[in-house]
Symmetry: C2
Subunit: 417 residues, 2 copies
């Protein structure tokens, strides 16, 4: 690996972005094909780098869940290259004429989709994100700076090495994809302040990372993945559905951002519903932190405090809040939600309408698990993250969300009178 300092890296990224904005669909697909080949021919190298990370992780005492997320093997590498095939099949989001008209004075105006430019992505653990993100950025004509987690340092270095080899084979600008050294905190700070070189940062992570970005970033950013998600079980809910959905949303994969953290339950059905739910949660070893009213109908629980309502557990822990109306449920969600995914379980059209109209989140569900908030599930293909901000993109961000637009205006000497 060539050793460059962060300022050189940023300069190279900006230069590469001017080339990348002109790449044809064929050039972009060809480089993705080359990267796929290179991933496969470098498989052993990647796996042995990954082993090094796993050993370091064990020494550092990472838990099994984290070690599992970190681990690569033959089948996971195969999955990663299959994802590349998917990105190759995506329609090219660049160069689309979004609007076109002739103005009163004869000016010919077009609104055309273009790449954003240089995108910095901050993400954690899973090394497959490195390849997915690089592929999505390449397909959308962007240049990417990848800052993965320190625990995946060697894996990411090896994957980025393979990507660069693929880029070279395709004879494109090798600085299309660069790694930012996760061990150098100052480099990360430099990147998120480099508004002359970086056009967008996508920080993937929890509320602490979002706070850090707000306080430090001088580049526009789209926060992704902070999810204090709620499911509200209305008095009219079908309880069988409700149990099934809440258990799924909480326990099917608790470590992800679209997992449920707080159950909000109407007091009128709490007595019937909570014992049914507790049985299923017990079977999954899920800890319960509830308010007093909910506690009356539970056997094993702790009293929830203010902090519970604002915590993204990402674990087998659920908080339970009782309310006396859908309005109160919505108010709780407004206060503590992170605008990610919120659900209502109800058989009342009126309650669902109220919830849909008044809950301000990227994804609002009726009678389904919040776990579906995902680019693949929504039909956008792979995603670079799930935006919890309102500007530019909300919810899953696929290749289209990595574009912006410009206006071109063709004249024949028009001046303004």
């Amino acid at each position: 690996m060539i050793l460059m300092n962060i300022n050189e890296q940023l300069q190279k990224a900006k230069e590469a972005s001017y080339e990348a904005m002109g790449y044809t669909t064929k050039q972009k697909n060809d480089v993705l094909e080359e990267i796929k080949k290179s991933m496969l021919s470098n498989k052993e190298k990647i796996l042995s780098a990954n082993k090094k990370d796993l050993e370091n992780g064990k020494k550092k005492g990472l838990n099994n869940a984290l070690l599992d997320r970190l681990e690569l093997n033959d089948s996971r590498i195969k999955g990663m290259t299959t994802a590349l095939d998917e990105v190759i099949r995506f329609e090219d989001p660049i160069g689309k004429i979004l609007e076109e008209r002739t103005l009163y004075n004869g000016l010919r105006l077009k609104k055309i989709s273009v790449p954003i430019g240089v995108i910095g992505v901050l993400y954690e653990a899973r090394p497959n994100v490195t390849l997915d993100t690089a592929a999505l950025c390449i397909k959308s004509g962007n240049v990417v700076l990848l800052k993965g987690d320190e625990t995946a340092f060697y894996s990411n270095e090896a994957i980025i090495g393979a990507i660069k080899q693929g880029i070279k084979a395709a004879k494109l600008n090798e600085f299309l994809v660069q790694g930012i050294d996760a061990r150098k905190k100052d480099d990360v700070l430099t990147m998120i302040k480099a508004n002359n070189f970086v056009d967008l940062i996508i920080p993937r992570g929890g509320l602490n990372l979002m706070k850090f970005m707000r306080e430090n970033s001088q580049v526009p950013f789209i926060g992704a993945g902070a999810g204090v998600c709620h499911t509200y079980v209305d008095e009219s809910a079908n309880l069988e559905n409700a149990v099934k959905i809440v258990v799924n949303a909480k326990t099917q994969r608790p470590s992800v951002c679209n997992a449920l953290e707080t159950l909000v339950v109407h007091e009128k059905i709490a007595e019937k519903f909570l014992p049914l739910l507790e049985k299923e949660l017990n079977a999954k070893n899920c800890e319960i932190r509830a308010d007093k009213k909910a506690g009356k109908y539970l056997k094993k629980w702790k009293l929830a405090d203010e902090k519970d309502w604002e915590t993204e557990y990402l674990d087998y822990i659920i908080s339970i809040k009782t309310v006396s109306s859908v309005e109160e449920a919505v108010n709780h969600i407004r206060k503590y939600g992170t605008m990610h995914s919120e659900a209502i379980i109800s058989e009342s059209k009126k309650a669902i309408d109220y919830f849909f109209k008044n809950v301000d989140a990227a994804a609002v569900y009726s009678n389904a698990s919040t776990r579906f908030t995902d680019g693949g599930e929504f039909g956008l293909g792979m995603e670079v993250g799930i935006s919890t901000q309102k500007i530019h993109a909300r919810g899953p961000m696929g290749v289209k969300e990595l574009t912006t637009y410009k206006y071109t205006i063709e004249g024949t000497g028009q001046i303004r009178g």
Copy 2:
């Protein structure tokens, strides 16, 4: 005016935004009608407040251009209320189903346009912006915090008073529109850091304001109106067109963001073109700051330095840079442009294509004046500003650009496997 502190104002704005997101088209148009009535019935009050600002402005030594921008009179108030009629006629941008599909598992997914929420707008001098911005935010279901210029303090206070009277008459939430006291710098700081209450800031102004926002804002913002705009006169240009366009772009209204600041000229036509241009610029009393090569063909000029290339003069001053190719012109624009509006004057399709493909700006022109970058001219209607950022919206921002979207997902018990 009720005296509230900034924290109360922010709280009230957030609460109002929950109401505003549910307003019907009729409610929004009715309140705009009431505001129009109220503007007319309060005309004398507004004019006498404006007189106070004008007197203070004269005492402070504001120049005539600024005093002219500040001044209101019968016909300008008429113009402002006519603009309200225009906004009433706009299509409602909210509640549009942008996408709709049934997923493989039967989930019914809709992507629906919704308001952004609470928008803070920082702007300067002209008091008509106060009414225009309030109207556009109301039409798009947003709540707005207006921070105008201190020099227009009394005018803005009177206009906001009239707006509030209209809102009351329509029986909507009076905190839909609030003024932020321009005299209290701490209030402005509080607002741009209040990410729990404010969803977007639109700072309208020059490069210094953008720097201030980058360094201080903790709310996502879309910088608007910093315009170091270029026009490149290619070796193949029709010189008659070129003179006409450059003079228009520079002098038709030099104080606005889409006015030309730097002329970039191909060295091969400099000798023929610059004397023709100088004659016309002289007639407008426009000062010329040029590089040495350009100076050879000019009579009255100063030598431009590095600072000239990065300055938004907003005045009768033009800088002139010679280049030896369209590539060099593009490089100059990349280095010094603010991604606002850039033009090429050329009869060569190849040069125009290169320029269009490689210049990264909100609006890229061939053979026309950059002065056309404007919501009205582009057919978007009135604008809240011209974005020079790449995220969310580029160029003129009308009501559509004041919206975001959410996904609603209707299920029948779906869980993720």
